[in-house]
Amino acid sequence: MATDGQKRMIAVFLTASFLLYSFYLYYAMPFKRDIKNQEASEGKLVWQRYNCNACHQIFGLGGYLGPDLTNEYSLRGHDVIIAFIKSGAPSMPVFHMTEKEMNQLVAFLKDVDRSGRADPRTFTIKSNGTIEQ
């Protein structure tokens, strides 16, 4: 059986690797952290404030009552997004937003759209089980 010292060594090794991995990720983010697009950045907060995420997904994560909106901007466009916010749908409430908030939200969805494609059909599965886009 392992001694206390050996167990501690394993725990310290794992924790150190975990911290290294964590801080590496904070440091080397997948994308640059520039704030070129202030409007989109505000739009993200609008998205959160109205909790769109409870019914919609981005990259497949979120609630499932409504469709994934990652690529809504390129698929349906600015006007459809505005129309849904203003009129709602049977399961989607009408949101009473200011014009500014709506534009920020659309800017956010445009930014999300540019960051990648969420459609699972655009991936290929490799023989070792991993996926690639």
Binding site: M1, A2, R33, K44, L61, S91, A118, R121
Partner: protein, 455 residues
Amino acid sequence: MEPSNNKYPASSKLFILTGLLLLSVGMMFGLIGMLQYLIPGFLKQYLSFEKIRPLHVSSVVFWIIFGAIGSVINYVQQYTGRVIYSQRLVNIQWALFVGTTILILVSYCLGMFGGREYWEFPPVLALPIIAGWLLFSFNVIKSMPTFRHQPVYVWMWLTGVVFFLFTFLESYLWVFPSFRNNIVNDMTIQWKSYGSMVGAWNMLIYGCSIYLMEKISGDKNYGHSTIAFALYFTGLFNLMFNWGHHIYTLPSHHFIQYISYAVSMTELGILGRILWKWKSSLSDAKKHFHYIAFRFLVAADWWIFLSLLLAIMMSIPGVNLYTHGTHITVAHTMGTTIGINTFLVLAIAFDILHVNCFGAVPYTKYFNKAYWLANISLFVFWIALILVGIEKAKWQMGANRIPFSSMMHQIHPLFYFVFASGLMLATALLVIIYPMIKHQLECYSSQKSSHVKSV
């Protein structure tokens, strides 16, 4: 088994009692949410789904957290044979948590959101939770007379306490613009923290259930055994590195996918160990099945097996591509949070609450039926959600997609199964927990009236 629980102050019971109340309320919100799937527009005006979903999620997540805290505080006392370091801190922590939970639920009703998965409340409300958790950590650490030669469950409690704090703080990095400005960066860190956070509360709960198991079986060797520590380190390894399966399809770093995939496969070892031990577990089950707490441990064992099977499959990126963004993910979450977390905390709750100021609490005559109904309806619920998920997966991957609303219309009949089984499950669980809540409340009120301290 000796009912030794009553020696210690009742505050750990208060956490469990509050948790049970939150579970009851949370299940109600869950049922309303399901009705909103069945009847589009149901309660849309007052409690639309963007309010119901967080009401449900936060209530039940707080059930698990309150339950885990109450269990740890109680078992730390039983294990060390001493009263917790500071009774007062426990009470302050409880008041902080209850106050915050109420504020959170009210803010949802008022339509005030932070809009993040799990923690959908405005971010300022995270501050009292952090403060409460620091008090809890301090109290648990100070209550340990020594850290030498401790059994595995003490390691698990300490791991859970530390990692919950770390991951909870990490999940709030988004408040800094440089972390949230790019959606891919933001979601990478968000799901990194959530994946590990679930592992952290599992450490607290699994640790308590191992303690309970030792207590029931009378075998004090397991906690120090090599296999117990091997499983613990495998769990810890997964807690730290397997979270990537949440974001395989996110255009993030490729190495996240490879690391998560490889690490997740070590869970096959845990699965193998369950299968290996199956026969002896069955004979143990026969021996102790009369004991109510034990029954929930047995049920949780089954759910660990089923959930692990599903989880390992979903950790293969090629399979995940199909299941991601569908109710198969929900099925997995329900299996783990109800079948494992809830059943384990219920087992512990029975152990802690079954002897109170009136002596042994009588079980209702409905208990047996409710227990079986809970298990069977959870299984039907789980299967129904998987079937809904399979239909959505077929739609997502299909060459010619019909509109989203038509797809939802097509799978609508399946939601009746989800709702009906969910309703049965909630009924069964309420039948089980109602007497626990009632007896404990009666106990508190009788103590108040006679000014008897529960020490």
